[in-house]
Each structure stands twice: as C-alpha cells, then as structure tokens.
C-alpha cells in the first residue's frame, strides 16, 4: 500500500491507453468492478488496524474517485470519437439534387384579373359577372345597338340558334364584349353602382392580333354627380397603379361606341423599339381602352332615369394588358396550353396580388 502513488499512476496509464468502448469496459471492470483492483484493495482493509483502516480507507476513496473521473472522461472522449467515425461514414454528397417537386403556375390572364380586382377594389368597385351566352337584348339592343345598327358589324358575332324561334334576331350570341354585364348590373344592383366585370368575350376573328376568344374587363360607375373628369381620373389612377409607375403619360382621343357618349379611347405613352416596348415614357402612343359617359338610352334600358343618374363606363382587353405589362409577344400563344409557355410566362402560386402586398413579384422566385 505504500506505493499507492505508483498504483495510481499505473491505473491512470491503463485508462489512458484504452482505445475503444470494449477496452474501456474491460478496464472499468478490472479497476472498479466487483472484483476490480480497487474493490479488492478496499476489501483488504478489514485486516488493518482501526487507525490504519481510516487512513488507508480515505486514500483508497480518493484513488477510486480519481479513477472514476478518469474513466468518465475517457468514456466521453471515446463516445465523441466513435460519433465522429460514424458521422464520417454517414457522409452523403449534398450536391445531389433534391427529390423532384413541381411548382405549378398561374396563367397570365388570371394574374391580370387579380391585379385589376386589387386596384379597382381599392377604388370601391365590386366584381360583377354575366353569362357567356347572351341574348341580343343584353349584348346589343340595350346597349343602344338595335338590329340594323352598323356597329354590330364591327363585332364579328358568333350566333347560337334559338330553338324557340326561327327569327334570326331571337338567336343567342356568344357575348362580343363584357358590356352586357353593365345592363345586368343596372337591372340587379341598387344605385349607386361601381362595378368591374372581367370575363371571356368572343368574336369571329383569328389572325396575328385577334383570337376568337379573348378577355375583357368592363367598368361601370353610376351615381348622381359623376362626370367625364372622374372618368379620366379613375382611369389615370388605374394605369399608374397597374403599370406600377409614378406617372404614365395618357392621351384621350374622341371615338365612338353606341353605348357611351361622349366616347373616347385612351392611349398611354410608350417607347417602341425593335425588340422592346417600354411603357411610361417615349414618343409613341399605345391604345389600351375605350370609355365614355353612359348613353342615356343605355341607362333607360337598365331601368335608370338618365335625368337623375349619370356615369361612365370603360372596357379594356385583359390579354392585351398582360402582353403590355409582361412583354408577352403573341396573343395566340395565350390559348395554346404549351407547357413551356405556361412555365415561362405563368406566375408562381404564391403570387397573390394586392394593393397592400404589391401587384406582383411577391410570390417568390419561380421554380
């Protein structure tokens, strides 16, 4: 027992020399196990005198503590080493691609719909709707276009025979514009009226710039004191918000629509170059919508007294707005369902449009 220090050094050295958990356990058993060296030494205390017993017992306890600590430390070290070995074995090539996921797309027409709704919603408009197949009253007559009106020829109309009548004037039409929703809104809504009506429209025309189906949005404001100045202000506010510019040069040209008078077409300033169209500056003008003060005959057809109420209406092409804002070159491609086109010109599913969060580019990058 005199050379307790030597024994300790020996024991510590054996602990330090352990290489793995198996060896560590063997050492632990051999030192502090039931038959371990220190345990045996403690057992042998019985043969000593009471005085020696106390003194040696103390020393042995100190020794045991030290060895236990050394073993614990060694165990942690070994565990860490073994973990490191395992981690090294578990290494994967993280440059490998992730599991395949597809992010879908929202069609530009739907995107523009949401943008338009966001802007006009901010101005107090509600969204109204009407059927795609219309009667001639709503599509033409009520809009101040009686049967033989030459303006009807401006719109190459698709007709659907009426089974109940052979008279061609009773046949249905596939609506040539969203304007019939004006009449339906007047018929069904309380005054004052402030609506937009986006939807599909149809004309028998198919070339580089026309498709037999396209999208329009109609606007209608009816109140007691609405003037043409409000028409201009409303549309000016719209184009600035829509093109997300502080200012857009606008120009109004007198025009003609049977259902409005005075009527006008609105152009926006732009710069046309060979491959690009830049909205908001430059020397060129681009027509974007038709508008005017609602014709008294139309108000009457909608059951509204034109001596008491007045207002304005406008209509514009949603597809065309999409082409202008997002630089889509060909109208026909909108309806071809080409997945390459949809992926390229479509919008991410999280790209919701609002005046608070922004009209676009808030849906993250496309994947």
């Amino acid at each position: 027992m005199e050379n307790l220090e030597n024994i300790k050094a020996e024991m510590l050295a054996s602990v330090a020399a352990v290489e793995n958990m198996k060896g560590w356990d063997d050492i632990r058993v051999s030192l502090i196990g039931k038959k371990g060296k220190i345990t045996e030494m403690m057992k042998s205390l019985g043969s000593l005198s009471a005085e020696e017993k106390i003194e040696t017992g103390k020393k042995l306890n100190v020794l045991k503590n030290e060895i236990e600590q050394a073993l614990e430390k060694k165990k942690n070290l070994l565990a860490e080493q073994e973990l490191n070995v395992r981690l090294a074995q578990e290494k994967v090539d993280v440059t490998l691609p992730v599991r395949p996921e597809t992010q879908g797309r929202i069609h530009p027409v739907s995107k523009i719909y949401e943008e338009i709704v966001a802007i006009f919603g901010e101005m107090g408009f509600e969204v109204a709707e009407g059927p795609d197949i219309e009667d001639q009253f709503h599509n033409f007559n009520a809009l101040n276009m009686p049967a033989n009106h030459p303006a009807r020829q401006m719109q190459d109309t698709f007709y659907i025979p009426n089974k109940k009548s052979d008279d061609f004037d009773d046949s249905y039409v596939v609506r040539t514009h969203t304007s019939p929703v004006q009449i339906r809104a007047m018929e069904s809504r309380p005054l004052p009226i402030r609506i937009i009506a986006p939807g599909r429209t149809y004309r028998s025309d198919y070339d580089a710039t026309h498709t037999p189906m396209f999208h329009q949005v109609e606007g209608l404001v009816i109140d007691k004191n609405i003037t043409m100045a409000h028409l201009k202000g409303c549309l000016y506010d719209f184009v600035k918000a829509f093109f997300e510019l502080d200012d857009v040069p606008v120009r109004y040209r007198p025009s003609y629509f049977p259902f409005t008078e005075p009527s006008a077409e609105m152009d926006i300033g732009c710069l046309k170059s060979k491959n690009e169209l830049k909205i908001g500056s430059g020397t060129d003008w681009l027509e974007i919508l038709g508008c005017g003060m609602v014709h008294p005959n139309v108000l009457r057809a909608g059951g509204i007294d034109p001596d008491e109420y007045q207002g304005f209406a406008f209509g514009m092409g949603i597809d065309r707005l999409a082409m202008l804002k997002y630089g889509i070159p060909d109208l026909r491609t909108f309806f071809e369902s080409d997945v390459r086109w949809l992926k390229h010109y479509g919008f991410t599913p999280l790209d919701f449009s609002s005046m608070t969060g922004g009209l676009n580019n808030n849906g993250g990058s496309a994947r």
Binding site: H230, E265, L342
Partner: protein, 795 residues
C-alpha cells in the same frame, strides 16, 4: 378611309403640314391609322445631270452615263429608253434603299461595265406607277437637290371612321371637320349644272317612299366608256386603293369617296321601260354584278325595269344591265334610301359594298341632285355625250330634328366649363343652325349628320372640338365601403387556382369552344350548344366539359416532346344554350410520370388517386365539405369504368375523377394514360354564414391516444370507404381516426377475397383505458365491420 393630301386640298384651303393634319384628325375623333409619305423614303436621293451619254460597248439598249450629283461625277449604266444627254433626273447613290424593291443599292457590274448608282423611275421611288422610263425633270433643275423637294409627292393618310361619322367617308366631310377644328377653310363646291337638251326617254317612279324618299335619274347619250380616265382621278382612286376600271365606274367611285355620295350607272340600252323603285316580290331573283344570284324577299328594295330587279337599292348593281366598255347611252341613278332597309337587306344577303357601307350609316338625303350633277359633269367631261333633262320622284326636303344643349351640362356632365358663346360657335362651324334660347341652345344638325339625336350628341361635338385634354382628371370620390370586392363564389375560384398551382399543376386557358366530334362524348345534357357560324369546324360547340380541350392540350404537348404534364383550367362549362345555362368548373389532367427519371427514384406514373386528390383539394380550396363527400363509382362513360368515381353530397355531384377511358383517348389521338378530374364549383354549397366566424372550442385530452391495428378479409367488391365508415361508426365517442394501411389480394387468401388492414385510433377522455376497455372497443369495431361489410377478422 384613305385619301391623299392633294385630294384633301381640293376641299380644304390650308397651309398645314401632313403631320399637323394628322394630329388634328386624331384629336377630333378621326383616328389616323397610318400616314404613307413617300417623301420619307427618299432620303439620299438627289437630282443629277447626265453629263456624258455613251452607248454601252456590249449592249444595244444600255448606255453608260457620267452623272453629276452636285458633288461628283459617277459612272452609271442605264437602260431607260428616255435617257438622254444633259437631262436632269433623280439619282439613287450606292447605299440607298430603293423603295420599290426594299433593297439597298450596291455597286453593280452590268455586262462588264461598273455602275455606281441608278437613275430612277417613278415606280422605283414608290411615288407612282410609271416605269416606262426614268423621271425627267426640267433641264434647268440644279443637280444635288433632295428628291423630295423637287418631286410632286402626294402623301396618303389613312383614318378609321367610326360608324356615326358617315359624312367623313367622303373627303369633303373630313375637310369640313378639319376646317371646323381651325385647320383651314372649307372651299366651296364648284359643280356645274348642265341643262338637259332633250326629254329623258326613261322615267322614274317610287312605289315605297319610306324606303326610298328621293330618286333622281339622268340620261346621257353618246358617251365613250373607252375614254381614258384622267390621271388626277386615277391617282386619287389609287390612293384609296381602287383600280381604274372604266370612266363610268371610276366617276361613281370617285364621287363615293369625294362626297360620300353613292351613285349607280345603268347601260340605258339594256333597260326595258321605265325605272320603278319598289319592294321585291318574295322569291324574285336578282343576279349581282359579281354574278351571284339572290332570291329576294318583300323587305328588299329593288330598282326595277320591266324585266325585274336590276339593282338591289343602295347595295349593289345587277349583272345584266350594268355598263361595259361598249356602253353608249347611260342612265345615272342618285337616290336616298332608308338606312334600316339597306342594313337589313345587306345583312340578310351578306352583301358588302362601299354603297351599302355608306347608306346604312347615313348619306345626306338632300344630296341627290348635287351628286347627280357632279356625276353628269365628270362623265361628260371625260366621255362626252348629250345630257337629257333630269327625272326625279320624291322631294329633297329632309329636315333634321332639333336637339338642345344646356351649357351647364358641359360642367356637370362633361366635367369642363365651356362658355355658351363658344358652344354656339363650335356647332355653327360644324354646320348646325343654332339659336340661343337662354338656358339652352337649340341646334338643328346639317342634313349630312345622321347621328345627332339629343343633348349628349351635342356635348360630344363640343368636347371633340375643344379637345378631351381640356377636361381635368379627377380621382373618384370615396364611394360606399364594399363588404368584399370578390363575392365568396368569385374568391373561391381564385383560391382553387392557387391551390392547384401549388399542387404542381400549370393553369391554362383554353377556348370556350371545342370540337363537337369530341364534345359528344362529354355532354351531360341533351342540348349540344352548337354555334351557327363557328370560326373553324373543330371549334363549333360551346364546351360541355373542360376535358376535351385539356386532352387536346395533353396531346399537343406530347407531340412537342412533353409527355409529363399536369394542367388545369378554371372556366365555364355549358349545359344549355340559354343565357345562364353554364357552370363554373375547375378541371385538370395529369399524364405521364410524376417526374423525370432521377437518382432518388421518386418516380411513378400518375394514377387515379392523383386525380382524386386534386378533386378533393379543389373542393377543400373552394371551402366545400370535402370530408363529408360520398364517393360513388358512377362517373360518366368517358372515364375508365373501374378506375373512376364521383364525389357527391347526396344527389349533388361535386366532382368526377378517374382515368380517361382508353376509347376516348384513342378518339382524341392520345397514346398515353391520362387521369383527370372536374369539379363543378357552382355545385359546391357555400358555408353557412349564420354560424359566425368563431371556431368551435378546442377540447384537448390529457391522455395519449392508442393505435390498434386490425385486418379483415372481405369480398373484393367491398369498398374500402365502407370498412372505414363501419369502423368509424363502431364508437362515435372514443374512435377519433381510422386509416387503411394495407390492402392485399392474392396468395393465402380465398378466391374473390381481399384483406384490408386498418389502424384505429382510440382517444381516451376522462381516464386512460384499461386493457378491458380497449378490448371492448376493439370488439365493437370487429363486430361492426363484420356486420356491415361481411368481413371476418384475419388471424
């Protein structure tokens, strides 16, 4: 409507440039579509003198010139027969763009002699038709002057005329509007009245004065229709895009475009008897000058002789009695027609003509004598002949209805103050007779304006002339605060689109039309909504389903090499032809593999459960009761009968899903499997709004749920949903969830049987379950499933 600057100046005294004129036209509502100014293409072209003129050594007709372009002398090879020594012409230097060819001129080598430029003809410069020789300028013209400065160039302006401005379908109407806008002075018309020297052998009689209030005729004898139409008239007609045909045709065309005044000329020798203007008889035949035969009805107006209808009044002349080069005696018609009669007949027989176009809009009903006189003057000037005394039925006494404008309405309606004096001046300049009546102005429109009806028309005239720019822009005042901009029904379409896009599908927009040959497989009602006049034979039906177009999209993408597709559309489906017989539907297709081959191996073909998931997700996104739908196996016949289903609430079908029937794929021309779904958004009930927005209180259990598994053997025909429902209903208090985790058919099972394994979640409430309680609950499940599904527990 096109016209040349020189033609406009025939009616308008103005110093304004083409650009100023164009700008004003657009400002007053005559929108300029294009300006063709040949001068713009002549940059670089200069006058040049031919200083040497020698025969080409290797050609009989070519010459080698030395040309002085004011700066240097250049060798040019020229083949023009009218080229001569010392003449001055227009020279195109190397590098200039020749308008007629659209090509840049290069150094040429013609039969061994180099040529450094070209002497040009009118045609080559795009300023005329003459290409018989090069342009010859006066000999004293200095060389080196810009070509545009010395040539007689007549720019052409093209404008679009709205249907209300019929008088501007004549150059004079345009000139009048420009004059009113302050751009010059309208010149007086200078039309000679040629007195008749004999009595007209043809008389006229109108039977229907409502359809034709006035008809004038002029007989001219001894005309030469082989005479040459004068160059000025030819070039003006060319400017509007009309070819010269014969003097008689050219004159009527010219007056049509000059005064917006249609005319017709008969070969008088072919007419049998007098002219009667009457409604045609039902079934009466008419052959147009285009050679097409029409069977008329009693609402069509005919200009007739004793042989029948020779001219469809105001629309088109007949083949039989028209003029030919050999015509000698003519009868010139100039008449007023009722626009509604013209429009109806034109529409009925689908005849388009310049004449119909004008008459159905408006032709000054008091311009018949004027037009007739002008025609007679021009015809006799060009073709000679002696003129008979005019014949006429009806009176030229049309009076426009008075309209009134309150000056205060300019501010209160148009949003811009215009003083009364200014309003009166504007209207006067446009030809109105105006009277100040104090609070209002009385305005009687000129007879050439058929579009003035009420105050709004007069306001428009004033706005047009003062300029829309004068109206200030004023933001809309705050209106009532809308409850919701989009109605719940509209909003759920938006949510559905975003949900389906999040599910990896591309939104597409396809035609509302489809091919009836495909549509017939998809119709859900008896009414095939076919178009009367489809634009193409494969776009002839209003689609009864979104699927035919989506299937075609799959086919087209596959043909481009993109066989893995997931597409959806939200839009209308039509079940009848009456307005409103349409649903709003959301539908989608998936075809091919879920992904391309990849290292992780996460690839499988799309199957019916993808389509079912899409359908359920759509119903959920539309705020529909997706958890409560019943699943039945009665999808329409265009689906695979064993791999399709319907999602319904009782009788109300919300959705169909499944694999598309192979026969349908074959007919569509698709070679790969397609799964599809269609949700009828219109059928999804809106959530009850009465319950308010507050959610049900959350009841959380303090005890862990217990999952227990059970496997049953059932007939193959037993549907999984029934097993789940039976298990779920075994105890409504303690069973919180039932999931199917295995379905097995095959070895170790009796013929016609399958094994379905379910995992049941038991949720304790007040205390944890004792073993006994759990056993009782599981026994309840076993009994219930065995009873409802003829099942036995698999040991």
């Amino acid at each position: 409507m096109k016209f040349s600057l020189s033609w406009l100046k025939e009616h308008l005294e103005t110093e304004a440039s083409v650009e100023e004129i164009a700008e004003t036209l657009t400002k007053i509502g005559l929108e300029v579509e294009e300006i063709y100014n040949p001068a713009a293409q002549l940059e670089g072209f200069v006058t040049a003198r031919v200083e040497c003129f020698e025969k080409h050594p290797d050609s009989d007709h070519l010459h080698v010139l030395s040309v002085n372009d004011g700066k240097e002398k250049l060798q040019v090879v020229c083949g023009a027969p009218n080229c001569r020594h010392n003449m001055v012409g227009i020279f195109a230097p190397v590098g200039s763009l020749i308008p007629a060819f659209g090509e840049v001129l290069k150094v040429g080598k013609i039969r061994g002699v180099e040529s450094f430029g070209m002497m040009c003809s009118e045609k080559e410069l795009g300023i005329g038709e003459d290409h018989t020789g090069i342009i010859v300028l006066p000999d004293d013209t200095a060389p080196g002057l810009p070509a545009a400065a010395v040539l007689d160039i007549d720019p052409v302006i093209e404008i679009s005329i709205t249907p209300n401005r019929a008088e501007c379908l004549g150059v004079r109407g345009i000139a009048r509007d420009l004059a009113a806008a302050g751009l010059g002075k309208l010149k007086p018309l200078n039309i000679k009245k040629i007195p008749g020297s004999f009595v007209s052998p043809i008389k006229v009689k109108i039977e229907d004065k409502a359809a034709c209030p006035v008809y004038t005729g002029r007989y001219i004898r001894g005309v030469d229709n082989k005479a040459e139409t004068p160059k000025w008239m030819k070039s003006r007609l060319a400017a509007v895009g009309l070819h010269s045909i014969s003097p008689l045709v050219d004159v009527t065309n010219y007056i049509n475009y000059d005064l917006a005044r249609p005319l017709h000329v008969f070969d008088a020798d072919k007419l049998n008897g007098d002219i009667t203007i009457r409604m045609a008889k039902n079934g009466e035949k008419f052959v147009s000058l285009e050679g097409k035969e029409y069977t008329l009805d009693d609402k069509s107006l005919g200009i007739c002789d004793e042989d029948g209808v020779q001219c469809l009044g105001g629309i088109m002349g007949g083949a039989e009695k028209g003029c030919s080069p050999d015509t000698i005696n003519v009868f010139v018609e100039c008449a007023a027609f009722n626009p509604v009669v013209i429009a109806r007949t034109g529409r009925k027989f689908q005849i388009d003509s310049d004449s119909r176009y004008r008459y159905e809009r408006w032709v000054d009903p008091n311009s018949n004598v004027l037009g007739s006189d002008y025609a007679v003057q021009l015809i006799t000037e060009i073709c000679g002949g002696q003129v008979a005394e005019p014949v006429m039925d009806g009176e030229e006494n049309f009076e426009s209805k008075a309209a009134y404008i309150r000056p205060s309405r300019m501010r209160d309606f148009a949003g811009v103050d215009v003083p009364k004096g200014k309003i009166m001046e504007i209207l006067k300049n446009l030809g109105f007779s105006v009277t100040d009546e104090g609070e209002r102005i009385k305005a009687v429109s000129p007879t050439w304006r058929g579009d003035i009806d009420g105050e709004q028309d007069l306001i428009e005239e004033v706005v047009r002339m003062t300029g829309l720019d004068e109206i200030p822009a004023e933001s809309l005042p705050h209106g009532k605060f809308p409850k919701q901009v989009l109605t719940p029904v509209q909003q759920r379409a938006v949510t559905v689109r975003h949900e389906l896009a999040l599910r990896g599908m591309y939104e597409t927009v396809t035609w509302s039309f489809t091919d009836s040959k495909l549509a017939e497989m998809f119709r859900k009602s008896d009414d095939a909504v076919l178009l009367y006049n489809p634009i193409a034979s494969d776009l002839d039906e209003m689609r009864p389903s979104l699927l035919p177009n989506l299937l075609l999209a799959v086919k087209n993408n596959a043909a481009r090499g993109f066989g893995n597709v997931a597409l959806f559309e939200v839009g209308p489906e039509f079940y009848g032809r009456e307005p409103g017989q349409q649903y709003q539907a959301a539908g989608g297709v998936r075809s091919g593999m879920t992904a391309k081959k990849n290292w992780i191996g996460d690839v499988r073909p799309y199957d019916v459960f993808d389509a079912k998931a899409d359908a359920l997700a759509t119903i959920a996104a539309a705020d529909g009761p997706w958890e409560n739908v019943q699943i039945t196996t009665d999808a329409p016949s265009y689906y695979h009968p064993g791999r399709s289903g319907a999602l319904r609430l009782g009788k109300n079908v919300l959705a169909y899903f499944g694999e598309i029937h192979p026969a349908v794929l074959k007919k569509t021309g698709i070679k790969q499997r397609v799964v599809a779904f269609e949700v009828n958004l219109s059928n999804i009930p809106l959530p009850r709004s009465t319950s308010g927005k507050a959610r049900k209180k959350l009841e959380l259990s303090a005890f862990q749920p217990v999952d227990k598994d059970l496997a049953f053997i059932v007939d193959k025909s037993v549907s999984a949903a029934n097993i789940v429902a039976a298990a779920r209903n075994a105890d409504r208090d303690y069973i919180s969830e039932v999931r199917i985790f295995d379905v097995y058919e095959g070895e170790n099972l009796p013929e016609g049987k399958k094994s379905v394994a379910i995992s049941v979640t038991f949720q304790p409430k007040a205390t944890t379950f004792t073993d006994k309680e759990l056993e009782t609950l599981m026994a309840k499940v076993e009994v219930e499933v065995s009873k409802k599904c003829a099942a036995t527990l698999r040991s």
